[in-house]
Symmetry: C2
Subunit: 349 residues, 2 copies
């Protein structure tokens, strides 16, 4: 691979170049860092949107609706779908991908699945790097969809400008079961499948929870309405999120039925307004700066670890000492000391 040639093709918007660049970056093949360094100065055009939530919440359908709406507005959209790798869960995911085919043949849409297997540097890093390539290739919106609720989702949300948490009524224990940090990381809540009973309860639960966490900052939010009420003209303001007097984003709770496209306009509007707020309040700049700091730390950490593992021949040393570690003559901490001593010595030569 010639990184410079690939960079030129990428900037020219060639889809084949994008696919090749993503493959190089995802697999950490030689030259991937040069490629990413090369696109670095052309970043910042795309809005990055994270869509997360528990399995079965209808995230893929919601994403498809968003993509269709962005296309109708003439925008190019990149989608990164983060999949579990089990062949077992492959069935359901294949279903999602087939549905996504309504947009998959559109030149203005690029869809990439990424496996959630562990990788050196982690999924969050790879996702950010693939997002950078999409950004550099001129896409206007980058939507990252993650399956499940957990640390991976929190990590992904930290790479997005705006994070949407998709929940459904009747999901058993409701938001009580959400892992720490998941609600806090969301800017917009989509209560999907809102034609089911329990949508109002869930919405109320979200608002109360947010209110409690923010010291009842929600006292100024108008009393919540049912799904049908929220579709009335005039309810749109509320669905798009209230803003506090101090300029904080007070979250938006939007009711959707993605399978029928209901609530999609409201969700789009909430996304636009959140972006406006991000830009106006200076939060966008802050978030991107914080992200760049985290990114740089990740890149440094990964580069240093790779150097360390290669340079120290640590694997060889660990293998040679394993018998002694297993039978208790050496501890893992003794081996670590030996590796570090070798590293310092080796670097001195």
């Amino acid at each position: 691979m010639d990184p410079d040639l690939l960079l030129a093709d990428l900037a020219a918007g060639k889809t084949a170049a994008l696919a090749r660049a993503i493959s190089v970056v995802e697999n950490g093949r030689p030259g991937f860092e040069r490629l990413l360094a090369g696109v670095h100065r052309s970043l910042g055009h795309a809005r990055r949107i994270g869509i997360t939530g528990p399995p079965g919440a209808g995230k893929s359908t919601l994403v498809e609706r968003l993509v269709l709406a962005y296309r109708a507005a003439g925008l190019r959209v990149g989608v990164i779908a983060i999949d579990p790798t089990s062949p077992f869960t492959g069935g359901a995911l294949l279903g999602d991908r087939i549905r996504m085919e309504s947009v998959a043949l559109d030149e203005g849409v690029y869809i990439r699945s990424m496996a959630s297997r562990g990788s050196l540097g982690g999924l969050a890093t790879s996702t950010r790097e693939v997002s950078d390539l999409l950004d550099a290739a001129g896409f206007d919106r980058i939507v990252v969809e993650t399956v499940g609720v957990g640390q991976a989702e929190v990590d992904v949300s930290r790479m997005a400008d705006t994070t949407v948490l998709v929940l459904v009524p009747e999901s058993g224990d409701g938001i009580q079961t959400l892992k720490s940090g998941v609600m806090e990381a969301a800017d917009i809540f989509a209560v999907n499948k809102a034609d089911r009973p329990g949508a109002d309860t869930l919405r109320h639960e979200i608002e109360v929870t947010l209110g409690i966490r923010r010291g009842n900052a929600y006292r100024n939010v108008p009393a919540h309405h049912g799904y049908r009420a929220s579709r009335r003209a005039g309810a749109r303001e509320e669905a798009e999120g209230a803003r506090g007097a101090d300029g904080r984003w007070e979250h938006a709770v939007v009711l959707t039925v993605a399978a029928r496209g209901e609530g999609n306009d409201e969700l789009m509007a909430a996304l636009d307004r959140h972006h406006e707020w991000l830009a106006r309040s200076g939060t966008l700049e802050q978030r991107r700066r914080r992200r760049m700091l985290e990114r740089t730390r990740e890149v440094v950490d990964r580069a240093a670890r790779r150097w360390m593992w290669d340079e120290s021949h640590a694997d060889r040393l660990i293998a040679a000492r394993l018998d002694e570690v297993v039978d208790g003559r050496l501890s893992p901490y003794d081996v670590a000391t030996e590796v570090l001593d070798g590293l310092k010595q080796g670097a001195r030569l």
Copy 2:
């Protein structure tokens, strides 16, 4: 802290020493590696059991039943409960802890909650290290309970001799929603709240799934029975898991109602038989050896990263370069190169 004094107190079984040692290790305070190196040779007595499953599956109640049964058999038990850190979910967890109080005052039981916040080296590493301290302090069984289903659970299962996956009927999408690797990591399945409708269906689903994954290794397993049927004398063999002709562990599916203690004897028996199988087949030795390899890699990686971040003053350099990274003059990859160059140079001095 004097590590040698603490080690002596730990070996003497002093509870206060254990609590102090755990705190030192969990927070990575000075001397924690010397402490862990010191206990390394006394490891291997305790059986390590992981209990995992989705929120609301009744894991804590099941753990409490296990603890009571082990105590009745005269065994000392350490429990590590891995908690989400959100104050929001704290309510439900507090409930669990209050229930656990029936055993919390027992001298032969040690319960420790660990936060699932990110830490250098990760939760799995810390959990293993705290397990080592409990092992060295002479506990016979170490039960690690994790909330939620995800990568953290898969990681934790890799630290256990035996992993129990707790599922409940009517949990919506059933095992379809389990993340990749979670089912594969389990040795024993507990279908808890088995007095609810759907217990048989879930059991069947588990068996079919395991059968599919193992090339229908389950063809020799007798037709599954209902919950009541499985409680008959004679059904116990099946509940404890069938073994294939080739000596593989063919998993056990046990029906339990932890709130009433039903199925607890069967679960205990399945745990014992799994341990016997582990020892007899040589798998225990293999697993512990593999674990020791992973552990050593983790310890080396953590030590090297700490050294790298301290030695290179990377944080200072990143902060100094951040403006240039944000405005695109430098990329994170350029900064990484600079950090590494400095590291190599510094080590040479």
